[in-house]
């Protein structure tokens, strides 16, 4: 393809090709601080392409392709090329990765132990992880990822997938107030997923992206309503995590073993919170108990 780049996020090496220069330049800016290993072959391919040659210039619209494709996915305007790239990368991981059990969950780690938060989009799991990862003074949380958490079937450890955090809508201002502007990507306004702005994880989180963390706490956050904490039984956590995993079925018995172990060894809670500050306070309180 005309333009291309290679990006390694956690254990996954991507190559991304594009018919346009802009998405590649934007990606290279976001991922400039990530480790580069040119001797390593790519695990996954993403293609951003124009459906017809003239559509490279005329009302350019970006189709998302690669090893795995969603047949009816609508193209995005070129101004949202970064979102197209992100969606393409997510898709390849969600459908193609087999080395770990993939949880659609955010995670942060402290002292080698992981806090995993699983929920639908809108649950605030990404925002909570991003805010914890930026927390001043309150400790040294390492952001492991805002979208996927990887569980090693053999040992049960969590591994990071710290792609650039995809901040949405209100979370943009909330996080932007706390970080150096150079760590933010361009504002993608009014995308199909709302306003989006990417946050480059802290350098220490990127540097530590291959370090495993022992799962210590499982949270299922829900944004809105009174602050509340509800302990969750092993069975319900199991069911919810099978639904949150994109490759549980494909892993066979290894996935079953990993998930039963995870829900048995890790305390789990459903939490509700009215705003980020209350959410963070709840998380810290539960962590203090779990990490005893």
């Amino acid at each position: 393809m005309r333009h291309s780049t290679r990006i390694a996020v956690g254990p996954v090496q991507f190559r991304i090709g594009s018919d346009w220069a802009e998405p590649i330049a934007a990606l290279e800016h976001l991922y400039a601080g990530y480790p580069q290993d040119d001797t390593r072959p790519s695990d996954a391919t993403v293609r951003l392409f124009a459906a017809r040659p003239w559509r490279r210039w005329l009302r350019p619209s970006v189709h998302i392709g690669g090893d795995f494709v969603v047949p009816d996915a609508l193209p995005l305007p070129l101004s949202m090329g970064l979102l197209a790239a992100e969606m393409g990368m997510n898709l390849q991981v969600a459908l193609g990765w087999r080395r770990h059990m993939l949880l659609h969950a955010s995670a942060v780690a402290k002292d080698g132990r992981a806090l995993i938060m699983s929920g639908e989009s809108g649950s605030g799991k990404s925002t909570l992880a991003a805010l914890l990862g930026e927390k001043e003074g309150g400790g040294d949380w390492r952001l492991m990822g805002d979208e996927f958490t990887l569980i090693d079937p053999a040992g049960g450890n969590a591994f990071a997938f710290p792609r650039a955090v995809s901040l949405k809508n209100e979370a943009i201002a909330e996080v932007a107030a706390r970080v150096d502007p150079s760590r933010l990507g361009p504002l993608l306004a009014a995308t199909p997923k709302g306003d989006i702005r990417h946050l480059i994880p802290r350098a220490d989180a990127i540097a530590a992206m291959h370090e495993p963390a022992r799962p210590a706490l499982l949270l299922f956050p829900r944004f809105g309503g009174e602050a509340s904490v509800e302990p969750m039984g092993e069975g319900e956590a199991f069911v919810r995590l099978t639904e949150a995993s994109t490759n549980y079925v494909a892993l066979g018995e290894a996935g079953f073993a990993a998930l039963t172990r995870l829900v048995r060894e890790t305390p789990a809670f459903a939490i509700s919170y009215p705003d980020s500050a209350a959410g963070i306070a709840l998380v810290e309180q539960l962590w203090a108990e779990a990490a005893k």
Binding site: E234, G235, E236, F238, F256, R264
Partner: protein, 93 residues
């Protein structure tokens, strides 16, 4: 309806893990996970390697759990056996 005879999956085909109130059963032949509640695990246990119908199963369960074998347990067990068959965990003998 006739009281059909079924046979349970061989024991080594299944991996059974109790998870609180639920029981997760992994079937190594189908690579499927089944989440069930009582009395499904007990039924599979009671069947062992033998061919069973609802009547013989009712008798076994009654003996195992020290209950009176009642007639009205049979239609319920027959229904559970049909559900287990749909999951592939038991097969018509």
């Amino acid at each position: 309806m006739a009281d059909r005879i079924y046979r349970a999956a061989p024991a080594d085909a299944l991996r059974v893990e109790p998870l609180g109130e639920l029981t997760a059963i992994f079937d190594r032949r189908s690579m499927q996970t089944h989440l069930v509640v009582s009395p499904m695990p007990e039924i599979l246990d009671a069947m062992g390697a033998d061919a069973c119908n609802a009547a013989s199963l009712a008798a076994r369960l009654a003996a195992a759990f020290d209950l009176d074998a009642t007639e009205d347990a049979q239609p319920i067990l027959a229904e559970r056996l049909r559900e287990l068959a749909a999951m592939g965990l038991v097969e018509r003998a």
